[in-house]
């Protein structure tokens, strides 16, 4: 009556595979050290761990570009389907490096913050903050490297348990309320995801993504499973209309935490959706679902941007802008699956989407850090009270402006390249309506960015009251992130070969010449 599925995992551990284990393990070791060594060394341990983590990320990148194929590790030497595999392809390595850079920058930004005093008894906020920052970096690495759907479930739970306490680090009632709402959405997402995992196991007897890719059949079971998992992950990614937890949570967290939450954490669950749709679901089965996801994405762009324009507080404005920018990511789904007639446009859309993800991460981190500095300087973040603020802390506002440029899609920013590639793909594939949404979203983004920037840079009517000095180091961190968002706009406007390593056709390297503008 029953037969085992005798699918051997197609590959062995590759030489650099141990790096994948280290990328997950090192942050966890850092956490254990923080909790045994005591407060005196918390910050030192955390920053050292982040530095080592960044080195590991670069090592994985080198390994991947060196060999030109996926890096694989079979944990415990057990071969899936029985065991667990870790696998880094071009997509995962881009996200790992991105995460290392952003979290590293946030670490430098947050150094010395949270009432930190190495000689005083241990305090709550610094201990918790550094622990959770390391936790998020380890958990995200696990999401990007995990090749097993249940392993990914553990990873998203790790993300939840680190992200939620960050939201209410200040211990105020309204942030705890936001954190609880976030937690309930995240838990709803987790159970839906787990239900899908169970169904997939019932159909195929394996949870390994690489194996599933080879055995997945177009059948109701797979559709229902993927639909449940996608809805669950959408709740965590905060795609419209499941975004309602996001603005209060992201705006309530301390600036350093908001930067990580908005730039990276929502991308973690998005990454798993990408895995499900592009790595498991057979290409011919994505049609209607992909259009629906993009439709929600379009609504998110329009709705999020309009609400952002109406916000009175800077951090809420930035948070609603995240709601809108997440929408762009979902335009990838119909564009990057493409059609057989236009494979080239599919890979253009794929590159554009990932570029959007990365540029938004840099830009949004820069903007949230800038908002934190605004708060430090003036003691509030009411937009109406920021007239002339740009003359007091120019670097902060330059960082904010450069980040905003990327959100609007002005050349030569990363956001411009991303949106340009997606525009190209949507026109090329004849799905022009997405192009209209992209353009419209850019105009609306200009609306909310300039609404802050123009009065801030103008000569104020009255002298603005300054509450405290702003650390130059922190300003420079925000600026550096904003410049990163700008710099990745200079990558050539064509499908990036790195993204295709170890992947299938959608990120294919078949680039017909002359597509670049």
């Amino acid at each position: 009556m029953t037969t085992p599925l005798a699918l051997p995992f197609p590959a062995d551990t590759t030489p650099g595979g141990f790096l994948l284990v280290l990328a997950i393990l090192v942050p966890i070791i850092g956490i254990l050290l923080i909790w045994t060594l005591g407060s005196r060394r918390t910050e030192l341990v955390a920053l050292t761990t982040l530095a080592i983590g960044a080195a590991i990320a670069l090592a994985i990148l080198t390994e991947l570009t060196g060999t030109g194929s996926a890096v694989i590790y079979l944990v415990g030497g057990w071969r899936p389907p029985l065991g667990l595999a870790l696998r880094a392809d071009g997509l995962s390595v881009v996200l790992i490096v991105l995460t290392a850079i952003v979290i590293g920058a946030v670490g430098i930004f947050a150094k010395g913050q949270f009432g930190y005093d190495p000689d005083a008894p241990e305090k709550r906020a610094p201990t918790v903050f550094w622990t959770l920052l390391l936790g998020i970096s380890g958990a995200l690495n696990l999401i990007f490297l995990g090749d097993d759907l249940f392993n990914l479930f553990v990873a998203i739970e790790l993300v939840t348990f680190t992200a939620v306490p960050l939201v209410c680090l200040d211990g105020k009632a309204e942030t705890m309320r936001a954190a609880l709402r976030y937690l309930l959405f995240a838990l709803l997402g987790s159970v839906m995801y787990l239900l899908g995992v169970a169904l997939i196991y019932s159909g195929y007897g394996t949870l390994d993504i690489a194996l599933l890719k080879s055995v997945a059949r177009v059948e109701p079971l797979l559709f229902i499973a993927i639909a449940l998992m996608t809805v669950g992950l959408l709740a965590k990614t905060a795609l419209f209309p499941l975004h309602i937890w996001l603005p209060a949570a992201h705006a309530g967290a301390p600036a350093a935490a908001s930067a990580v939450l908005s730039a990276l954490v929502v991308k973690g669950s998005f990454f798993i959706i990408l895995r499900l749709w592009f790595d498991i679901l057979p290409a011919e089965a994505t049609g209607l679902g992909a259009q629906m996801l993009a439709g929600l994405g379009a609504l998110a762009i329009l709705f999020g941007s309009v609400i952002a324009i109406c916000q009175a507080r800077l951090k809420l404005l930035i948070a609603y802008s995240t709601v809108a920018q997440i929408g762009y990511l979902f335009l990838m789904f119909p564009l990057a699956t493409g059609s057989e007639a236009t494979p080239a446009f599919a890979s253009i859309a794929w590159t554009g989407g990932i570029l959007q993800l990365a540029s938004h991460a840099f830009a949004k981190a820069a903007m949230f850090l800038a908002a934190g500095l605004v708060y430090d300087a003036f003691g509030h973040d009411r937009i109406s009270g920021l007239a002339g603020a740009g003359r007091v802390i120019p670097i902060t506002f330059i960082a904010f402006g450069l980040g905003g440029m990327s959100l609007m899609g002005l050349p030569p920013s990363g956001g411009f390249s991303a949106k340009w590639l997606m525009l190209n793909a949507s026109v090329g594939e004849g799905q022009w309506w997405w192009a209209a949404v992209i353009l419209c979203g850019g105009l609306l983004a200009a609306g909310y960015v300039f609404r802050v920037l123009v009065p801030a840079m103008a000569r104020p009517l009255a002298r603005i009251k300054v509450k405290g000095p702003v650390s130059r180091r922190r300003e420079l961190v925000a600026l550096a992130l904003a410049i990163m968002a700008l710099l990745i706009g200079f990558v050539p406007l064509e499908p990036a070969p790195l993204l295709g390593i170890g992947r299938g056709a959608e990120a294919g390297l078949l680039v017909p010449g002359g597509l670049a503008p």
Binding site: Q113, F150, K172, L180
Partner: protein, 126 residues
């Protein structure tokens, strides 16, 4: 796909499916957070049960069920408990914070003007 089979496992599978539906309904609709947490645990129980039925159907090699999904359920139960602990503590702190401020219930949801959770502020006072 084959025709319908109906055995003990199927019965409990249907029970799991019903629990998921009932739990989801409560999780989304009940306004009270503690009830939402309870409903979340119901959905979890349903999902685990479906997983367990899948394990039962995979009985082979002399085992009463496929040990892999059973082990996954054990992991899942512990994770769900941790989630419940975090959620319950949030509810507990939230209501004590609301009581401290002398404004039970909803009042705390409107942030006082200018108060953002920016680093350093909450802790500088301690």
């Amino acid at each position: 796909m084959t025709g319908a089979t109906f055995d003990t496992a199927t019965l409990y599978g249907l029970c799991g499916a019903a629990l998921v539906g009932i739990g989801l309904f409560g999780l989304v609709l009940d306004p009270k957070p503690i009830r939402k947490i309870l409903a979340f645990n119901l959905v979890g129980a349903g999902v685990f049960l479906v997983f367990g039925v899948i394990a039962r159907r995979g009985a082979a090699a002399g085992f009463g069920g496929d040990p892999v999904p059973q082990a996954l359920v054990i992991t899942g139960i512990v994770v769900a408990f941790s989630a419940t602990a975090l959620a319950v503590t949030l509810v507990q702190r939230l209501s004590s914070a609301a009581t401290d401020a002398g404004q039970p219930g909803q009042a705390a949801s409107v942030p006082p003007k200018g108060e953002t959770g920016t680093p350093g502020q909450g802790d500088a006072a301690s």
